[in-house]
């Protein structure tokens, strides 16, 4: 009985703080959505809490703008992020399986090496990377944004931990006895077992690649190959004052919304996945 009262007070405090924090997180997106549905003239008059009726008009304006090909940008971003997610998860699983299921001389060296570069920032090699892809003739193309995702140490580590917890090696042995080839074992038996891990990491790789700005901004030059973040950056660099501000809000919204939709649909798995990736059991 005695402890009931402070707990009630604490509960009120906790809920208040949570509501305030949630408000902070959502407020800016609310402004974004409201302003994206109003016209430029309305926006000049000041802020209104209620949405306007210009959603479609603004959307059409963004779609028809040749200087900022937003939808082409989304398509490019989709290609890059989709391919990165697929390559990254497949090859990380393959590497994890290779190091988990087989015994070979350099196994320990290879594992230690990957663990040592686990959190190495990509920015430190950016200069050499830029020169390399220029020499390889891949400057200003989407390929250098996709191919390097084959080697993602963090995803590898996640896959490796997952294999440790869910793939009994006896299963592999059994498949071998049944005459299954090594690649077939991986594709037909190991990959299906890893499906949950692959799904989680595919989402994170996709989102990471979708939001990536540093490398694409260095690599991509021509307008029709730009991904969404570069277009946003160009928007910032443009002569801002002469702009239709409603269109700016709509562009930002178009850039953000695909991820929000994915997130709302998969939030359960995403939130569960955050901890799986980072925390060592």
């Amino acid at each position: 009985m005695k402890s009931k009262k402070p707990n009630a007070l604490r509960s009120v405090v906790a809920h208040t703080v949570l509501v305030i924090l949630s408000f902070m997180c959502l407020f800016f997106f609310y402004i974004l959505i409201v302003n994206a549905t109003r016209s430029h003239a309305d926006l000049q008059k000041g802020f209104s809490a209620l949405p306007g009726k210009y959603f479609l008009t603004n959307l059409m304006k963004v779609a028809n703008d040749g200087t900022f090909p937003m939808f082409k940008g989304i398509l490019n971003s989709l290609i890059v992020s989709g391919c990165s997610a697929a390559l990254c998860t497949y090859f990380s699983s393959l590497t994890a399986y290779g190091l988990y299921a087989y015994d070979f001389k350099l196994k320990k060296v290879a594992f230690t090496f990957i663990m040592a570069i686990l959190v190495m920032p990509t920015q430190v090699t950016a200069m050499g990377f830029l020169r390399l892809i220029t020499n390889m003739g891949m400057y200003d193309s989407l390929l250098p944004l996709i191919i390097p995702s084959i080697a993602s140490p963090a995803v590898f580590y996640f896959m490796y931990s997952y294999l440790q917890s869910s793939l009994p090696l006896s299963l592999v042995e059994a498949a071998r006895i049944d005459g299954c080839g090594e690649f077939k074992i991986f594709n037909r038996i190991v990959l299906p077992i890893m499906k949950p891990a692959i799904a989680v990491q595919a989402i994170f790789t996709f989102v990471g690649s979708w939001n990536n700005y540093f490398v694409p901004a260095l690599v991509i030059q021509s307008k029709d190959k730009m991904t969404v973040p570069i277009l946003i950056a160009t928007l910032r660099g443009a002569d801002y004052m002469n702009f239709d501000s409603a269109k700016i809000y709509m562009m930002i919204m178009v850039a953000i919304v695909p991820i929000i939709i994915i997130y709302l649909l998969l939030s359960k798995y995403i939130i569960a996945g955050v901890t799986l990736g980072g925390v060592k059991e």
């Binding site: 402070p6 906790a14 703080v17 949570l18 924090l21 997180c25 959502l26 402004i31 000041g46 090859f91 990380s92 393959l94 590497t95 290779g98 190091l99 299921a101 087989y102 015994d103 001389k105 290879a110 990957i114 040592a116 570069i117 686990l118 959190v119 920032p121 920015q123 090699t125 950016a126 200069m127 050499g128 990377f129 830029l130 020169r131 390399l132 250098p144 390097p148 084959i150 080697a151 090594e182 989102v207 979708w210 700005y213 540093f214 973040p229 946003i232 950056a233 910032r236 930002i252 850039a255 953000i256 929000i260 939030s267 995403i270 939130i271 955050v274 901890t275 980072g278 925390v279 060592k280």
Partner: protein, 319 residues
Amino acid sequence: MRKKSKSISYAKWGYVFILPFFLCYFIFSLIPLLDTVRYSFFEYYRSGIKEVGPTFIGLQNYASLLQSDMLKYGANTLILWVIGFIPQILIALLLAVWFTDVRLKIRGQQFFKVVIYLPNLIMASAFAMLFFTIFSTNGPVNSILMSMGIIKERIDFLGSVLGTRSLIGFMNFLMWFGNTTIMLMAAIMGISMDVFEAAEIDGCTGFKRFYYIILPLIRPILAYTLITAIIGGLQMFDVPQILTNGQGTPDRTSMTLIMFLNSHLKSKNYGMAGALSVYLFIVSAILCFIVYRMTNDNDPDGSKAAAKRREKEERRRRK
């Protein structure tokens, strides 16, 4: 005997399976790294359309970087990171404790978790652009504050050092506190219920429970969060770059190290970019090594720390 020969025949598959990863890493990360280091010793830049160098100049790039504003940008990066990280870790700890407190019975936990994690997935550049428009002198935030009568004149948030830095820190806080909360929650939930029950019987509740039970037990994950956050802070780029259009305005007080690197790369100043990259590489390598020690399975630190904790607990129990 037969078994041994079999395992050798399988070994080659191990190499085959890890080959793509290593091939890709060597080509797209290791060779660029070596190239970066090599050019850091050369005078090699472009002025106008004329290319100067490459001429070997030893450590001159490193020396001139130290005399340039690099250290100032390093300090900027640190300040921006601290402004975002301190509230982030405090709020995350608080929320994690609340979420895991069975007695508190937070309603709509799933909803709150979904909401606070949301900003982490938002494109940082778009988020920065959004803040730029919202906090501009004739943007909605100024209009709202004006109409509520809180301010008389429009505030130029991005024109002042404090305004710009706080905005960047605030955005970093918003983008990362949800993530940290969820990480710390998992850490707290990893603590055995027995410990909490035993503590409660001994009259250890509320703040004591947090300070004497939770904090020491999640220390390894706190340390991990700290180090990864430092690495993330070192890479700070998208938000200040977009918010200040790459200028680090006002007066380059919000210019970060990676923005500095980016401007060298954009102007094709390869020698300087190389030397700066090497500096960054050395710092990251140290941080990487710490993370390696923490995550490695044969980690002597983790087990030692655990043993020490157990010992301490034992001693406390005996008392």
